[in-house]
Symmetry: C2
Amino acid sequence: MRRFVIGQAKNLIDQTRRHHKSLRLLSLLAASDSAPVLSSPRLFSSSSDMSGSGSDSSSSSLPVTLDSLNPKVLKCEYAVRGEIVNIAQKLQEDLKINKDAYPFDEIIYCNIGNPQSLGQQPITFFREVLALCSHTALLNESATHGLFSSDSIDRAWKILDQIPGKATGAYSHSQGIKGLRDAIAAGIEARDGFPADPNDIFMTDGASPGVHMMMQLLISSEKDGILCPIPQYPLYSASIALHGGSLVPYYLDEASGWGLEISELKKQLEDARSKGITVRALAVINPGNPTGQVLAEENQREIVDFCKKEGLVLLADEVYQENVYVPDKKFHSFKKVARSMGYGEKDICLVSFQSISKGYYGECGKRGGYMEVTGFTSDVRAQIYKLASVNLCSNISGQILASLVMSPPKPGDDSYDSYIAEKEGILSSLAKRAKTLEEALNKLEGVTCNRAEGAMYLFPCINLPQKAIAAAEAAKTAPDAFYCKRLLNATGIVVVPGSGFRQVPGTWHFRCTILPQEEKIPAIVNRLTEFHKNFMDEFRN
Amino acid sequence: MRRFVIGQAKNLIDQTRRHHKSLRLLSLLAASDSAPVLSSPRLFSSSSDMSGSGSDSSSSSLPVTLDSLNPKVLKCEYAVRGEIVNIAQKLQEDLKINKDAYPFDEIIYCNIGNPQSLGQQPITFFREVLALCSHTALLNESATHGLFSSDSIDRAWKILDQIPGKATGAYSHSQGIKGLRDAIAAGIEARDGFPADPNDIFMTDGASPGVHMMMQLLISSEKDGILCPIPQYPLYSASIALHGGSLVPYYLDEASGWGLEISELKKQLEDARSKGITVRALAVINPGNPTGQVLAEENQREIVDFCKKEGLVLLADEVYQENVYVPDKKFHSFKKVARSMGYGEKDICLVSFQSISKGYYGECGKRGGYMEVTGFTSDVRAQIYKLASVNLCSNISGQILASLVMSPPKPGDDSYDSYIAEKEGILSSLAKRAKTLEEALNKLEGVTCNRAEGAMYLFPCINLPQKAIAAAEAAKTAPDAFYCKRLLNATGIVVVPGSGFRQVPGTWHFRCTILPQEEKIPAIVNRLTEFHKNFMDEFRN
């Protein structure tokens, strides 16, 4: 990694001298190879700094070396919090001390779907209930009625009544508190119009641990494959790598708005089988991440039939189910689609992942979510239960929030009007931001960008000039990473290179969230547009 | 598992006819093998029911079968939430409906260190801060000052000021919020008298995910071994099994109060090496779980020297650091011991695990904790950081609580007196309960029990009569599991068989928490004593 930082710094020195203010960054990057010379001496001693000067590998006789680590860990990549984010964090630290040293005032994190970090406010009702459940003594104070909505107080009592001893500080059942799972199952039923069983719900600390659990269950060796969309959310490639399986790619068709073709699934499945890989599951992300498409119901039916016919578990990442921005598309859960086709418990193995981190709620830091596990035999489910038990239970605050997002205030409730206003304010603003950013991206030279029908991202394709590709090669970095680092350096905007999500070889993309607050979007568009023009002027063939 | 339930039911029918009320349990257990005949038809459809009637494995053509699962998952065992707890949960459900059907009124869960589930109240100051951080609008209301202590308000502001945008709903840095890690590092320094670096802290959802992360890092195959105490907390055996490594046992000496002998470590290390196993780490649980011993400082020095000499990572499970009940013992962190020996960053790889679930706080459901990682090279630490990043971050409520338990109110703070009263009330009561239960156990025929110097458990040795062992064999169950099931059946008390923790072959134990509220202890002692007498009368040779 040390080589990367040196190479990157030298590359930047060679190529961006005309940006006077960039020199600060260059010295900052170069300094990481020698003694820190900056005003912030700790800048490079963070453990997230891969070239850190803290405990130096060269001078150590310690027993643990890279060579001795689990090679699956070494193989794993997670670009959403990778190299560019590390650079951004250091820039942000240095910005505090050296305000005038950069051509921007702040770092804007568009690398990750983390709405509240960019100013989105939490839904008041959810936080009222959470506070009351955190400090239950409040419920016995009359002053509380002046501070909280009446339905938040009612809901807190209802939740506490479902917890043995009202103990929100106790480990729960390994799948989560039964009463909260009842609320989630009722919410799924209301959404789908088909029954949901609280015993099918496994509550998790966000969706990620659920995905890991299923990968751990299904993958024994590299002979076990999981069909994943390309581009994909890197949780999938990371968790398949950590569990030692094979990622079997299927390519989404960018030209048709990231279309998911059954013929492509078949082709890739057959190809994997011909290599001796047993494909265990198909992962589908709907709405798509990083691609933002919303699947048509007819397409979902074909996918269900494909899984049934081929004996695949359908892993349905449905964490963006509330994030649909276009009138011509609607979210349908795979469970609803399967049940509407007449397929029940004994026909198809289906796991649906949901998270409190996304939607209009965006409660990323609370780490809540669940997976609805249907179609598994009781002995297999007992193994899932055991895996859940080894980590005891997911956190109760996250469990409470997961129950709330699946059973929000209803018409007539004290909070209902303000809840709806907050929810619709967030979703309509996200739709506007998605549209504005998409249009701006499509105006850039050599850039095409599908619309974000849903989710929280745009994933534009950049037709990079040969000169830029050659410069990236010289800097030993992927061309889209080269572009993204230059973007960060010039604007403070953090995006993730398409190579972190995988993409059709020879194409280059980046993922950019639509999450900066609405009033900041025009400035972001201006900075992006100016940067892109300068970049193209520098590298145009 | 179906066979187990049938076998157990038949066994119980054969052997406990004279307990009239037990017949209810027998029919309940027997019913699980055919159509439910109980008043609660859902009793056996829970997914945690291994003989569930929900989706039946025999009638299925579903693609996922036990044979096709990851064998590491199948191999993993976690007795703390295993078979006996499943039976107890069903009994508890049935008790609600059939109050008079059992010889007890309630199920008392002594299987797991879950204090608040048994009535322990949370520390008020911690919950005040948590509520204010959950619903930050409260901080702007004047009525809040009448409801909260002034230092909880100050602390909430201080915490919010450390979170970018005061966004407690945002993903944090992968290691946890920097300001909270500062507070934890300061708490470690105050505890140890040696410096601690916030960049060494990785905040986790309880201690378990930290242990998993280290196992994932260190284990590549079954040729990688981890030295673990026997008896051990089953998180270790489970996570080593899940990551495909080898558990290298070292036996604690029950006769000397669960002494940890360096000669035993050496013997087992050499034995493992002779089998081609590369031993990567030594896990030490101090205070001990399930064994409750507190290591002497001199013993800890020997352990540190052993790890240094043999090139082992020292995995120090120090989650019970606040739970010491005897005046002649004191907790010393391994980091303090190592530093006091003059060993620094470059001398020894040391990971210390801490959790908010234990101590006097017992905030199990909040899932907070951290590991302090010292002595690893920067490139290895970058891999740990990557593993943390794949799950984004631990939950912020747990992070906040972890910072609070390491920096509680100080003399002069508004909450200080009530905080100290609550803390000391809990710890002194736990000491009393430990003593009472230990004395009661030592009075039982054929039972010897070391004192609980610390932690939350007693681990008595039961000298089971041959007739009982033969009956257990006939029932195809381990003798201590047989005893524990009979105990549950007769008293409603849930304990965990020693076989779930491993033990010297031919010895039998169970683990019982000291956590039931003080006023319940006499009744528990009576029930336990009466049961044991009846059991011995039935099986005495």
